[in-house]
Subunit: 190 residues, 2 copies
């Protein structure tokens, strides 16, 4: 165990406000496999909650139906591991709701300052390097943008911005599912 790793961490997958390829602010559609992959990675790395953020009521309803199939329905019966992962998912309308939720559960528990530390990337290629471990007593909310990434207003609201994931090239177009997996491994992996 790396003692510098935060002990309490949430992930938020943001569908609004994000930008499209032209940099315009849009709301993106919820992708079924995002829920599965991010919940499974979250469960693997000890994430407390995976927030799915979309202002569209029909998208929240769709996401809720998918999750309930695995948490309460037939899916969880035949695949308990998937139920365990998808039980981390919380669906909400906006970032304010995420902040309210994390503050409610962490606000009084947070040692020292008691405030939340947030990290967001300018785009979906959000990432952290080995030097970005946070104090273990400080809760961490990681924001990830879908589409072409978080809108500037969402980035500006964060306390910190993680650097882009770099491989061996300038190609920087990972899926948000892959980016979440890599960041969690860098921050929380053994």
């Amino acid at each position: 165990m790396n003692d510098a790793r935060p002990h309490r961490i949430d992930v938020a997958l943001v569908h609004y406000p994000v930008v499209n390829r032209d940099g315009k602010i849009i709301g993106s559609a919820v992708t079924n496999l995002d829920l599965h992959d991010i919940a499974r990675a979250g469960r693997t790395y000890g994430v407390e909650a995976c927030w799915i953020v979309t202002p569209y009521a029909d998208q929240r309803e769709l996401a809720g139906q998918i999750v309930r199939h695995w948490t309460d329905g037939y899916g969880g019966t035949v695949n308990p591991d998937r139920r365990e992962a998808l039980s981390l998912v919380k669906i909400c309308a906006d970032l304010e709701e995420v902040i309210a939720g994390t503050t409610a559960k962490w606000g009084k528990q947070a040692a020292g300052t008691g405030h939340l530390r947030s990290a967001a990337g300018k785009d979906r290629k959000l990432c952290s390097g080995p030097g970005h471990a946070t104090p273990k007593d400080e809760p961490l909310l990681l924001l990830f943008g879908t589409a072409w990434g978080l809108a500037p207003e969402a980035v500006a609201a964060a306390d910190a911005v993680l650097p882009p994931i770099r491989g061996r090239s300038d190609f920087n177009h990972l899926s948000v599912r892959s980016a979440v997996a890599i960041i969690l491994d860098r921050l929380l992996g053994e």
Copy 2:
């Protein structure tokens, strides 16, 4: 750059032989987003080719149609980044074809022994830790199993087996897409 990182690396996503939840050997179906996510991660980390291995002709045809939409068709016109990633995909019928392909391109180039080093996991939760860097002159073929992971015969044919990805729990059910992203980052990330 970490000089211990291999310079030539291929990834193979195996749909047969893999096992189901009961440990029986099956052939799994090709998943559209596997192609995208693994190709995008592969392109990010400098992978030479992403092999999609399935013995089913109709599945190879389907995978080929998906890839061509992005490499030759309309998809690549509107999204050149996706074209660049999916151009790494090679579709083939079995592992023998992968080995033949990698041997053909690497056989005479490989310094020293000239043989391929392969690594496979007992299941989809295949991974590597920091101690698993390979000599940089030795080409590396990474095998990943879909469904509940590579069949024992595929694991036995590999030269090495990478340890499971560990997070903060015993939960070990990442998607193969996430596992590929994490392993490439551990082996090849900055």
